[in-house]
Structures are given as structure tokens and as C-alpha cells.
Amino acid sequence: MHVPDGYLDAATTAGTAAVAAAGVAIALRGARRELDERTAPMAGLTAAFVFAVQMMNFPVAYGTSGHLIGGALTAVLVGPWTAVLCMTVVLLVQALVFADGGLTALGTNVTLMALVAVAAGYGIFAGLRRVLPAGRTGVLTAAGLGAFLSVPAAALAFVLLFGAGGVADVPLGSVAAAMGAVHLLIGLGEAAITVAVLGAVLAVRPDLVRGARGLQVAPELAPRPSAAQPLDLR
């Protein structure tokens, strides 16, 4: 899904860079509410993990591959605003160090994978959490569907950008059909990886999954961190 330089014209590229910059600026403020001494290390780990898993392209039909985007997974683990920051760091390192995704297209890739994928994935997750049963299965189902749909959502956003400022003159309808079809398949992989990773974290440390708060029922009788520290009564 990493857009190289040259697919989109200068105006559209600049537009996505402005959208990305605004999105990251808002996320910096929002993430302050999500991050504390406990969740910050988890966010660093999640970003590094997403970078690693993005290297694992899996085969989909017609000699094509796909890889995890990780927007939904990250948002469920550490919160949507922090997820925008984590995804942006991953995309920044990929563009600057690994030449994966264009350099001028960095704003485009942040828009697609840090903003659209996170917003779609987390929006669907949060919406489904309200209507699904509150247990572990409900969390995993909501996350899986959010992850699945976040991939075609990002692909559709690319198609819209391509319609606005694609350099090549090709019919938009067939680009949309091809992008949609292959990214629905990649979305299945996205959902499978997201559910597997979330399921594993929920099994060992449900308290570290931000999107599952209110789910855990005191996993052990260990003292909570705050109880072991002198209370600051202000």
C-alpha cells in the first residue's frame, strides 16, 4: 500500500502532506490523554512490532502480496491518537531509511495508513463494541472487522486521491475495482493477524489492551501498581 513518488501530481501530494501534518498535530494533543507512564512503553513496542510485521508480505491471489497495515491493531492496543503517532513513525522510518514509500509521498502514506486506516479501523471497532457482547469474543470480533475494513477503506482513499490527481490517464472505475478487490483479500490477512495478536495479548496481559478496558476482571490477586506506591493525595 506504500505509495511511491510519481503516482500523484504535485498539488494532490501537497494537499495530502497538509492533511497529514494537521492530523499528526491533532493526534499529538489527543495522545496526551491516552499516554501515561504505563501505556507509553506499550506504544513504543507496538510501533516496533508493526514495523516488523509489515515486512512479512503474505501471498494473496493472482501473484500478488499484501502485508499488515496495523492501524486497527495499534488503535485497539494503545488508543487511536497514539496509533496515529505510532503509524507515522513507522512510515517515516520506512520512507527515510528503507526507501519504502516515496519521500514526497510521505504525506500521502501518512494520510492513508496513519489517518484513514486508524480512523476506519478504530471507528468500526468502537461502534461494534457498543452493540456486541462485552466479553473477549466481542472485543476480538470488533477488532477483526475493523481491521478487515480498514484496508479497503485506505485503498478507496487512494483511489479518490488518484481520481483527484493521478498522473497517469487511466479509467478510475477500473482502478477502483482492481484496488478494491485485491485489498478486500489483503483485509482478510489484516483481520487474521490483528485477531491473533490481540488474542495473544488479551490472554497474557488484558490490562495492557486499551480497547479492552472494562473487560478485565482483576486477572490476579496481585496488588495493583498504584496500591504499592505511596498515594499522592492532592
Binding site: 503516482y7 499516554l35 516496533a48 514495523f51 512479512m56 522510518v93 487511466v170 504499592a228
Partner: protein, 110 residues
């Protein structure tokens, strides 16, 4: 250090180790077919408009380490460097952004 904190540290270290193993060893077995966007671009005929990134000359461009012939080693090293780089940058960023006000942290535990 309290027991839950030690458990959290063990969890984080295990997570980093898994990420390093995926990027350093697992990535060699990744599928090398074009991804969804590349395949669509080729099929629809807009792949020719792609230009090389200005960072294409990076010593780690395309997840290969310059000067190392073994594909397994070259890609594995690139992956390990990438994981550590993302960990340092994302970790540093979120630590800079996080709340320092421990009232809020205490409130979430109560």
C-alpha cells in the same frame, strides 16, 4: 520494583524480542510478489509514473543492507535496525508526549 511492574517489563522485553525475530529472521520468508498497489498499478498501466525515492540510495534501501551479499543476513540486519530505530523514535516520542501528571494515572487505577 513491584511484581506487576516486573511483569510488564518482561512482557515488553518479550514483545521486542518477537519483533526482532520477525524482522531479523522471519522477513526472509516473506512473499516477494508485488503488493496490492504495485500489482494494480502494473495491471492498470500507471506503474511507469513511479519515480525512485530520493532515499533510494540509502544503505538500507529496500530492506537490504549495502555491502552484504547474503540475502538472509542483509535483509535480517536491515529489519533489526528498523525495529530498533522505530522503537527508539516512537518510544521517545510517546514518552515526550505522555502526561507527567500522576493524579490522572492514579485515577485510572482506582
Amino acid at each position: 520494583m513491584t511484581a506487576p511492574r516486573r511483569r510488564t517489563r518482561a512482557f515488553l522485553l518479550a514483545g521486542i524480542l518477537i519483533a526482532l525475530l520477525i524482522a531479523g529472521v522471519g522477513s526472509y520468508y516473506a512473499n516477494s510478489s508485488p503488493d496490492g498497489l504495485e500489482a494494480t498499478a502494473a495491471e492498470q498501466g500507471f506503474d511507469s509514473t513511479a519515480r525512485d525515492s530520493a532515499t533510494a540510495g540509502s544503505p538500507l534501501a529496500d530492506y537490504a543492507t549495502a555491502g552484504i551479499d547474503s540475502a538472509r543476513l542483509s535483509g535480517g540486519l536491515a529489519g533489526v535496525v528498523g525495529v530498533l530505530l522505530v522503537l527508539a523514535l516512537a518510544g521517545g516520542l510517546v514518552i515526550a508526549v505522555r502526561r507527567r501528571d500522576d493524579r490522572a494515572a492514579v485515577a485510572t487505577h482506582d
